[in-house]
Amino acid sequence: MSRRPYVRPVSKTTWYMRNGRYRRYMLREVTSILVAVYCFLAIAALAALADGSPERWNAFLASQQNGAMLVFHAVALLYFLVYMTFDWFKLAPKAMPLQLGEHPVSPGVIVAAHYVAWIIVTLVVFWLAGVF
């Protein structure tokens, strides 16, 4: 009897289509593209500000106020906010487990603490921005 183990091929380009679990992971990871786009936008905004001329800054603002950019911002914000943030908060207890005495702190408590911290940081940013 001879051994001839068969190795099943794994596609390097379409592996994530195999099941919903992998597709959800890719949806989370692909948000990194939006992070990159936002970094470029922030750099462009800073460059416009650093230029010192009101015309340049107003031109940057105007470039963001058309329909396509408004849709992009809305989709990107919702996608970030709803999908990536929720998904990462859900995973936080895995990376940062807590134990009080003999008992582990419930993952729900750790996730809730993240949401509370998120709300506080958001309020501080709003306060710094002069919203209230």
Partner: protein, 246 residues
């Protein structure tokens, strides 16, 4: 007890005759309380004695009956037909070479189990024979869940990263390494560092989390790996600080 007819679509591979695996369908009269393993045993005993698969305990302890059930890595002794449709596809655990039919070659993870020093390492002198290493319950609970691993390798079949890069140490071995690193009696963390902190170790994990979702023993290898990443990153930063150890 009522019977139910199950269409079992089983992947077959005979290394002496088949170039590639093929599927063979068996119609199995199942009892409602059967697990998939019972259906396979029925096939072996009554329909086709040439079917090869591994099993031993039939009670979720030995970890040898892991297979893909409708694409999901599962222990077939705890996957019940009452939870499945009338047609079920059984394949060998994904990402491992197929030895024959549903039997896979597990040489790779077994070699990694040995290489990763998954045992308690002490640096000090051994204690006198009449003493023991004491451990509090709180210290035990830090790692206890990871001791539940039965090496069924379902997590490797679920991990897309292992499928793409078999050099990756993989979920179960890393979870067990974390188990020993967290053990208050162990002093061998630095001995495991070269293996675990390498590219093949924790940093090869992209946190899909599938390993933890499929684990039949509710072990959480994804958590173990992320915790080792956090710890590794903190250690790296500590070395970069002024006065940090190099």
């Amino acid at each position: 007890m009522s019977k139910r007819q199950l269409e079992l679509e089983v992947m077959r591979y005979d290394p002496e005759q088949d170039e590639v695996p093929r599927f063979q369908t068996y119609s199995v009269p199942c009892e409602n309380d059967w697990a998939i393993l019972d259906a396979l045993n029925y096939v072996k005993e009554n329909i086709d004695t040439t079917l090869s698969y591994r099993w031993s305990c039939h009670m979720m302890v030995c970890g040898s009956c892991g297979m893909m059930v409708n694409g999901e890595p599962s222990l077939t002794c705890k996957t019940f037909i009452r939870d499945l449709p009338d047609k079920v596809r059984i394949e060998p655990l994904a990402h491992f070479p197929i030895e024959r039919d549903l039997v896979v070659v597990l040489d790779d993870p077994v070699e990694k189990l040995y290489r990763s020093k998954l045992y308690i390492i002490r640096k000090d002198d051994p204690p006198p024979p009449d003493t023991e290493y004491k451990q509090s319950r709180a210290a035990l609970h830090k790692f206890k869940q990871y001791t539940m691993c039965i090496n069924c390798m379902c997590c490797y079949a679920a991990c897309p990263q292992y499928g793409l890069d078999p050099e990756f140490i993989g979920p179960a071995v890393l979870a067990l390494a974390h188990r020993y690193n967290l053990d208050s009696r162990d002093q061998g963390k630095s001995d495991r560092l070269d293996i675990l902190a390498d590219h093949e170790g924790v940093w090869n994990c992209s946190f899909v989390g599938a390993c933890s979702e499929v684990c039949p023993k509710s072990v959480d290898p994804a958590a173990a790996i992320q915790q080792m990443k956090v710890e590794g990153a903190l250690e790296w930063w500590k070395q970069k600080l002024p006065g940090g150890k190099s």
